[in-house]
């Protein structure tokens, strides 16, 4: 499995907010994606958009509620089309399945189209250790592979890189003249990758959707690289999380409307490829073998928990990242694992363990922008609250990660607020303690722990001399003011 650095959220996000280049890259990409998304919605009108969201959500609700049934149907139909379906319990098993196929077939070169699951599995690394050359062919993925980095966004993996950084990287890694011209950079990548497409024995793709009734794998790309990966090499391996299945082709339609609009604001994606089994006798091209690896890797834990189940409805469009004020400040890498941003803050604790990722559910203001942007109406804030509750109150001590200090503060607050009398005492004591520190009713500097984290950038008001309830009792209740 990919390296988990979720414990480092605080130092990583501190470094990220100081990174001016990252800031610029995030600003441009975030507002760009979100702007085009909003335009695309306005074009179809809010009402139609809401209908689509509702339809898509219903399909996901139904499918996830009957996941065993649809996965069995999918498996049957993949086989019927001449392909092979494999179920992998965890990352190690998934990697072993792909390694074994590669070993048996004497694979030396692999081309890959974009797959977040393969990032999750850390598959490239496993294949490379086996002596296989692995080439990412999605432009963004290619860039971060050259830079030996991980994706920082679900849709735009190299979003954190500025144009100049990419030009520099190409010059250093590919020995080409430095050029910041986008056309030229795309040409450089195309030339470098074209040869690999022809050499590859195995193509690995992700899957945006799996269609149970036909056993089809559906991928959506803008570069055409997906189609080359899935048709040119003699073996095609598709990787997908088990939540990707939908019942029928009819159900696919609404997702083809929602996904490109939510991800990039496009009405329709440049390439939509549907792969059903390997090449047939009368096909002119296509792979000799088709394997579909369906990955659990912690998803059944999300499925079991009714409060977190809807995280499996996610279609990885990235819209929640583009509207998230936290993601927009810290970028994807600070989250420490493959899935960043609001949905990542649910999925990551679910897949790597709550105790491993205790900052993620807390690093949110619960502003709700993610839920409004989500094309399948996933209620992310509510799930963040659920995870916080686990951290504070779970019977499982592995999940209960809240500090004794926080617990004591919470209990203290609850006690004071449980009695107007104690509240009054608390205010007067608070006022007596803070008034000497204050200037014109505001506390500017303090070394009090916690409070100082507020006052480092903001003044804090001193508790009022007379509370509202005092004023109510003395004047307002008598008609005065």
């Amino acid at each position: 499995m990919a390296e988990v650095a979720t414990r480092e959220f605080v130092p990583a996000s501190q470094a990220a907010v100081r990174d001016e280049q990252l800031r610029q890259a995030l600003r441009r990409a975030g507002s760009g994606f979100d702007g085009t998304r909003r335009e695309a919605i306005a074009e179809v009108t809010e009402d139609v958009w809401e209908d689509w969201r509702q339809q898509a959500r219903s399909i996901k609700e139904h499918t996830i509620a009957h996941l065993d049934y649809y996965l069995a149907m999918l498996e049957r139909n993949v086989r019927a089309a001449g392909g092979q379906a494999h179920f992998a319990r965890d990352a190690a098993q998934a990697n072993a399945i792909v390694s074994e196929i590669a070993r048996q077939q004497g694979v030396r070169t692999v081309t890959k189209s974009k797959s977040m699951v393969s990032e999750e599995l850390g598959l490239n690394h496993v294949l490379e250790e086996q002596g296989i050359d692995v080439f990412e062919t999605d432009l963004g993925e290619y860039i971060i592979q050259l830079a030996e980095e991980t994706p920082s966004h679900l849709v735009a993996p190299a979003l954190h890189k500025t144009r100049g950084q990419v030009a520099q990287l190409f010059a250093e890694q590919l020995g080409v003249p430095y050029s910041e011209d986008i056309e030229e950079m795309a040409r450089i990548a195309r030339v470098a990758l074209r040869q690999k497409f022809l050499e590859a024995d195995m193509g690995i793709s992700g899957a945006n959707f799996l269609v149970a009734e036909t056993g089809s794998l559906v991928i959506i790309t803008n570069e055409g690289n997906g189609r080359l990966c899935t048709s040119a090499p003699r073996i095609h391996v598709g990787l997908a999380g088990m939540e990707k299945v939908i019942p029928s082709l009819q159900d696919l339609a609404v997702f083809l409307r929602l996904l490109p609009r939510s991800a990039t604001g496009q009405r329709i994606t440049s390439y939509m490829s549907m792969v059903t089994g390997p090449r047939r006798a009368d096909d002119e091209d296509g792979p000799e073998e088709f394997h579909l690896v369906i990955v659990d890797n912690g998803r059944s834990r999300l499925l079991q928990d009714p409060a977190l189940r809807e995280s499996l409805y996610c279609i990885r469009c990235g819209a929640c990242l583009n509207v998230c004020p936290i993601y927009q400040r810290v970028g994807g890498h600070a989250y420490g694992w493959v899935y960043p941003g609001p949905i990542g803050s649910i999925v990551t604790p679910g897949l790597v363990g709550v105790a491993q990722a205790k900052d993620l559910p807390n690093a949110s203001t619960l502003c709700g922008a993610c839920r409004d942007a989500c094309p399948v109406q996933i209620n992310i804030p509510r799930m963040l609250l659920h995870l916080r509750r686990q951290q504070a109150e779970s019977d499982d001590t592995n999940q209960r990660t809240v500090s004794d200090t926080d617990k004591a503060l919470a209990q203290g607050f609850a006690t004071v607020m449980s009695s107007p009398w104690l509240l009054r005492l608390g205010r007067l004591v608070g006022r007596a303690l803070t008034a000497p520190l204050a200037r014109s009713g505001k506390i500017r500097q303090t070394r009090l722990p916690l409070v100082s984290r507020w006052t480092r950038a903001r003044d804090l008001p001193v508790p009022a001399g007379r509370s509202f309830r005092d004023r109510w009792r003395d004047e307002l209740s008598k008609g005065g003011n």
């Binding site: 400040r329 619960l366 502003c367 507020w454 509202f468 309830r469 004023r471 109510w472």
Partner: protein, 269 residues
Amino acid sequence: MPEWGGSANLARRFAREIALTQPPPIRASLFVTCIIDQLHPEVGVSVVRVLRRCGVEVDFPEGQTCCGQPLYNSGFTQEARKLAIRTLDALDGSEYVVVPSGSCGAMLRVFYEDLFADDPDLLERAEALRDRVYEFTEFLTDVLGVDTLPADGPTATRTVTYHPSCHLLREMRVREAPQQLLNNAGSVELVELPDAEQCCGFGGTFAVKYPHISEEMLADKLASIRQSGAETVTACDMGCLMHIGGAISRQNLPVSVQHVAQILDGGEG
């Protein structure tokens, strides 16, 4: 708009207008929120004054303290339940509950149902409360049908920009009411806040748990406020305003900070 006389007559004339159109009086309980009660009581006073000016019979159930949201948002649901039950007890008999905060209002309207999902009796009480809870400006427009509320006080025009707080916008789904009331307040020229619907970075304990991120968000909000050119920034939440105002005060910016109720009450800022 009717032709109003001198500002001195305004309150009386408005009261008469209301009295003619809306008998019998509507009774509402004020849930003032702990932050207004303890830190900014003047906001609560303005709320009462505006409500009374609209002919509402206001009462203040004294058993109320905090709705429990800070605890709920931190995952301490057992402690939050104690305060939520206390709040239910205080508000059970109310015809309407008016909350001058989108955030606390959302707790009462939206999150109590989650908090009490496993307790049928309390859930029933939470659901009964849900339908009676209104955010202050929402109550004015949706229940009282107030469209125009001329400020009771100085009429010198000043520029005001409005920050729509996240929970008001996306939990309580109140978008138009505050802006409509501000627009019609007479003494106010409402100016647009760039990127208005971006969170200010408060998020309760978020601001002290992750100050480095919160401060970045706050800095952007402050830049937007300055860009708007407004003399006053307003919102329907003292949490956000304490956060934004704390930075304005720290940086000595020439911008005053007021709750919408204070502006509608004719406060000069």
